[in-house]
Assembly symmetry: C2
Homo-oligomer: 226 residues x 2
Amino acid sequence: MSADSYNQVKHLLAIDCAIFGYEEGEVKLLLFQRGIEPAKGEWSLPGGWVNGSESVEAAAQRVLLKITGLSNIFLEQVHVFSDPVRDPGGRVVSVLFYALIIIQNHDKELVRNHGAHWFPIEKVPPLIFDHNNMVKMALEKLRAKASYELIGEQLLPEEFTLLQLRQLYDAIFQRKFDPANFRKKVLSLNALRRLKAKNTTESKRGAYYYKFKETSAKPGERIVKL
Amino acid sequence: MSADSYNQVKHLLAIDCAIFGYEEGEVKLLLFQRGIEPAKGEWSLPGGWVNGSESVEAAAQRVLLKITGLSNIFLEQVHVFSDPVRDPGGRVVSVLFYALIIIQNHDKELVRNHGAHWFPIEKVPPLIFDHNNMVKMALEKLRAKASYELIGEQLLPEEFTLLQLRQLYDAIFQRKFDPANFRKKVLSLNALRRLKAKNTTESKRGAYYYKFKETSAKPGERIVKL
DNA sequence: ACAAAAGTGTTTCGGCTACACCCATGC
DNA sequence: GCATGGGTGTAGCCGAAACACTTTTGT
């Protein structure tokens, strides 16, 4: 920052959220039917304006709470979109976030009332403006994160089996991981605690439940080569 | 984006640039003495306001041109800083970029006239506001990039020896790379073209000059484990 | 009995690391 | 002749990948 003064052109500032959830073996994205002109009624990422006295992160959390009923959601910045003509309705600079939610925990009623819908990431419809590009970048970011550290704490129920975790990774990367190798790799990270209980609904023999250790800080640990 | 209309609170929007150069075996950062209140005269990252009809990237390029005399500089977004009280002078949202320049090419006179100075990255002084944190994040981004692909095209002279490239990496990661292994790894990437000419100023025997191939698109190729 | 997932073990392969070693040349 | 960087070769280690194999239990 450096200029003559603080008396400068001001900008409309928005945030958009790529909200990912995991359900039925698929990574899903929450999309909205846009409520305002232009492009009213078309599919878009949920978003909102940034208020005068909140950070972009706070704005994103506010929007997330309004839509999903959940607070304290995991989110990370992805990119700023600022092409002067990206929005036909006017000059709007938008900060894109991706968010991870445990789909089972969210308020489905609320989502429905907002006219929103969960789409599997392989079946994202055409979106307004540059939102398809946003989804692409958000997915890349998600994959990059998942390849550097074990994710799932923000996507799976608190207790889960290694099968479920592996299928999550299968869904994120759209490939099949070797069950034996995935197990060994994941356990070697020492990030999970095995529970006493077993899940017998998904296999005859039964698989132990695991949960994430309440980990203060784990170093970057590579899971997958991209 | 979704709300009642486009009649919303507007924001001061700025960009800040962490400009990296490489000289005398050191990665250096270009810092400014801030020209406006508050904190006038203190060290800061160069930056500027975003105009009404330009993208944040265009604003960054404009600032870079003004300061270094160079256009078409390599830059990438790092992060958005939007804490409402990050700038005591008012509510300013800032998009941080890092930029790489070939320090030998830039207009030293211009830099001097702006009261700017190159600091080795290990000797960055206390900066205004959240700028020290910005430098930290920009450096992390630079290292992440350098570990995924071979950089140097934007930091070294057009023709360079493998010694110079290795010393650049030494400087970026603040460690010593094994000369033999570095050479083999770099050459295996197939991104450099060996020239006829040799450099005999830095070694007795003389080392071949290399230059980057005019590569359309190289896939992400890991150089260094972080 | 068989299918299907759980869980363990083994072999192979490739890349990274750490060196040893020769080359060329200015001092 | 010796120090310095240039450049090549190689042995060892480690992790990823591929896959064989045993266990358990519902059907």
